[in-house]
Amino acid sequence: MIAGFAVVVFSLILPRSSLGLGSNSDFITEGYFGISSLKPFGLFWMDMLSAEAHALFWSLLVNLSLYCLFSLLIVANYRERNFGELFVHVNSVIGNDEQGYVWRGEAYVEDVKKVLNRFLGNEKTEKEFQQFYKRNGRGPNNQKAEERLINISEKLLTGTLGSVSARMLIGNVAKEHPISLQEVLNILEDTKTTRATNKILTQKSKELSQLAGQLQSANDELVQQDRLKDEFLDTVAHELKTPITSIKAAAEVLVDYEGDMPYEFKENFLKNIQEDADRLQTLIGNILDLEKLSNGRQELQLEHRSVRDTIQKAVRGIHQLAEKKGVQIITSEISDTMAYYDEDRVGQVLTNLLSNALKFTEAKRGKVQLRAQNEAQQVKVIVEDNGRGIAEEDFQYIFEKFYQSKYQNTRKPQGSGFGLAICKKIIESHKGNIWADPDFSEGARFVFTLPTHPN
């Protein structure tokens, strides 16, 4: 105000009075202090207006600018700030919560109702009031409106009129009490808690869906295992039934046609019975072995042993068979190395790999090479042959129990389908590894490792 007045004095009163008095009026044409931009009737070269309009313009401009500047620079007190906040963000504060702390004050139900009637219509107002009383279990006999009723009314009006108008209308009929700092803090606390709860909920929901996903995959795995077990049992049953069927049929024929059966037939049938009984015995032994190894019930007799000795023992065991088929077994590249293992079990693995090699190499031309190499913390044993090798499709499955390759060179798959599965279990229970080398192209190459020290 003072600044505005000063402007008027300088641009209107002072020059006029000096003109009237006839004293030195150079400053009117030259500007104050001789500065041309400060001419009284043309401040900052604005000399197209009449003297009065010019003074009014500048005094208003200075007035308003200072007003704005000061209100921006000075920090308002909390009531002003709250009000500003409430008017600008009324929705975020009220939300849908009629229990909120926002409104404090008093009003008459009749007044509130009148306002609502006008903007929402009679029917809707009655309905909303009924609902409100029903929710809060109090009859409409209270003359004074509760804060919650006022809140909900304001909310309803907000829907039709917008937040600021609704607040003004309600403000008209209600006498508002000032909102205390504590209440403002409560509001803020409230929103903060809601936000925090919301965040926790979102997180929990995320966790839940993750958990559901985990459960789903666990379930899938169980179903898969169940299926594998079923398949396993089916195959076991089939594998057991075959030799039993054969033994039964041979015995029956021997008994029924005993009288006129030629000697060589009798001999053949008896041999068949013997063969199938052996097969049954091996099969049962294998099943028991595999189950023991799978359940971890097989106790290993771990000792420091010479790998070369164990390999030679296994070769001696299969030597006769190899000679009969004319397959050469080469053991020249076995370094004398010690490892920590159960000799009987590892011997079983070697025998199995060796008989597989014998089975799939050609008679007279077959060659089986055994090697042992010392590596850091472990011994690597390699059994390779010059047979027909392993089909690409088989690499993934050969260590699974009962897997019999479709690509065997014999008409009928040989063996029980247990051999490599047992080898794998044995080597793994020693904390070693066993695999078939897919890069070896001259035949099949099986490799296994054994630790040289406990653990």
Binding site: T245, F269, R411
Partner: protein
């Protein structure tokens, strides 16, 4: 293998030679002319040339299995009257139903008694 007194031709298909041996002996003694195949592929070749009255067919065999063999036999017009009997260790209800649905005349399970098999086969023919 020719038997002048033979009443019927039977083709036994199984990949277990010991089982086949017993069945072969018993069927021959019962006046059948017996042919042997060790898998589905061989079975189809023999069946097409000898046109047996009945095929005794295992299911779980390498290469061409029993189901495929049955299908091929049924498709062959020359074997319209050839009976097919499954003889399998698969004895679940669903397996048996599947075999019969595919058009087998009978489904027998392993282990079996030779006498029973011969009786069943005679009855079907």
């Amino acid at each position: 293998m020719e038997n002048p007194k033979a009443e019927h031709k039977i083709l036994i298909v199984d990949d277990e030679p010991n089982i086949v041996m017993a069945l072969e002996y018993a069927f021959k003694k019962s006046n059948f002319e017996v042919f042997i195949a060790r898998d589905g592929e061989e079975a189809l070749q023999i069946a097409e040339s000898v046109l047996p009255d009945l095929v005794l067919l295992d299911i779980m065999m390498p290469n061409v299995d029993g189901y495929q063999t049955l299908k091929k036999i049924k498709e062959n017009e020359q074997m319209q009257h050839t009976k097919v009997v499954f003889l399998s260790a698969k004895n679940k209800h669903s397996d048996i139903q599947k075999g019969l649905d595919m058009g087998a005349d009978k489904y027998l399970t392993k282990p079996f008694t030779v006498k029973k098999i011969i009786e069943e086969v005679k009855e079907i023919i």
